[in-house]
Amino acid sequence: MAAVEFAYKEQAVLLGRHSLVGIVTRPPPAQQKDAPAVVILNTGIVHRVGHHRMYVSLARELAKSGHTVLRFDFAGIGDSKPRNDSTSPLLASLSDIREVLDTLEKAHEVKKFILVGLCSGADHAALYTHADSRVVGLVLMDPTLPPTLRYYIHYVMQRLKNIRNWISVATGRSGLLRLASAHVINRVRPKTQIEGLNLQNLRFSSYLPQCYRSAAVRGVRMLAVFTSVSVRHTYKQQMLDAFPEASAGGTLRLEFFPESDHLFSGVRERSRLLTVICDWLDSR
């Protein structure tokens, strides 16, 4: 009987000390590329499938073109058990990534990795890369960007169009005032270490630019994707202004999806996103 051909194979796995639940998607042995393994991180509290099953589709497409892909749940998310220690959520997630890469390295003999994340997943990926030279690529969808001068100008211009924002400023309830005061406080007392950081105060931290800088210095390739709807991103070049070193080595590529919402809910945008990521991965 002839062997059944398959485009990819999926295996359910438990990873590391905390038995994190994941799915490994592998290409057929004949098509396996000598390429970094791709690891897809959770978006917020949504489990490894992703919104609109986006990460399942992405993993399968990448496996069809020769990549080994892992989707997994951080401890306490999806099907993975919560941790029973007092580690902060951010440090716990970064520790989970390390455990997962260690496990993959042993089980699949891969030495290099590409991390993929949307929103909080993108931030986890960027922060983690700083401390692990095995990560050679990042796919960051709507990552956190620090506010730049031009960002503030755009922000103010947009809000001046609405009379309700004038009232908010006059009554001290303006989001801009809160933003500016947070910016000033974080300038006076900058967070230069990961301790004490969380995803909420990340945008003002000087630790985040450090992470992008060290990734760029190491030659980590980056694909940064931005959608239209974001209160943290108001113009196309904001990433270049916020992290000038990230683009200095020519390793950063920017892609824009002006028609898409943050979760890539539209079928057409999602399909284009998959194509962009697959092409970028294959363009080494």
Partner: protein, 226 residues
């Protein structure tokens, strides 16, 4: 918790099996049927919690993704209600085999409840009890709540439109419960008692993001099954 694949090579279904924590008395087993679409995404945490509670209460539990959804094989455009019904049948067979029981409890949330009701009607001898948690009363009304531009095909929309809970209830097992966390006028058409439990609606994005869990509803299900 044991992640596994059940079903056939053509229709591999991802599932999570949790063994019963205690083995006192005759083993009992429960299959959990997820909602569909974005409701599946947001209800996932609550369904996981329910499975763990039931396992702690002595039930072998299995929750699984329908073909073309979640981590199961198949693409989204291959998912449909007829197929999901057969997937529940496959899950019942798999759990009976793993747990060593001849019957299971079926628990379905939203569209999962409607699917569970259909399967329970056809497999009465294998379903010891049925829990319909916030089922879809009218498919026509439910379709109206779906996001514009969602991925659902016209064929599947037709299937969902045809969902009609009052007629599905005609042949369900005697030991069945309809539990709702939001009261609707249409519940009066069901012709059977509907138990209202004030609790968070677990399939709603804002509720899930807030971290709220429908604990009173889960407690009630556990208590009713005892």
């Amino acid at each position: 918790m044991n992640p596994l694949f059940i079903g056939t090579a053509e229709r591999r279904l991802f599932g999570l099996y949790e063994p019963a924590a205690s083995s006192r008395g005759k083993p009992r087993a429960a299959v959990l049927c997820y909602p569909w679409g974005m409701e599946y995404i947001y209800a996932h945490r609550s369904m996981r919690q329910l499975a763990s509670r039931l396992a702690a209460a002595g039930f072998h539990t299995l929750r699984f993704d329908y073909f073309g959804t979640g981590d199961s094989s198949g693409e989204m455009d291959q998912a449909n209600l007829v197929g999901s019904n057969s997937d529940v049948e496959a899950a019942i067979e798999a759990l009976k085999d793993i747990a060593g029981t001849s019957k299971v409890v079926l628990i379905g949330l939203r569209v999962g409840a409607n699917i569970a009701a259909n399967v329970a009607t056809r497999h009465k001898s294998e379903v010891e009890a049925l829990v319909l948690w916030d089922p879809i009363v009218s498919g026509e009304h439910y379709v109206g709540t779906l996001q514009e531009g969602s991925d659902v095909s016209d064929d599947v929309l037709r299937e969902i439109r045809s969902l009609d809970l009052p007629s599905s209830l005609a042949g369900i097992p005697e030991r069945s419960m309809v539990l709702v966390t939001e009261r609707l006028p249409s519940h009066e058409q069901l012709g059977m008692p509907v138990e209202f439990v004030p609790a968070a609606c677990p399939w709603v994005e804002a509720i899930t993001i807030s971290g709220a869990l429908p604990v009173p509803a889960m407690q009630r299900i556990e208590e009713w099954l005892r």
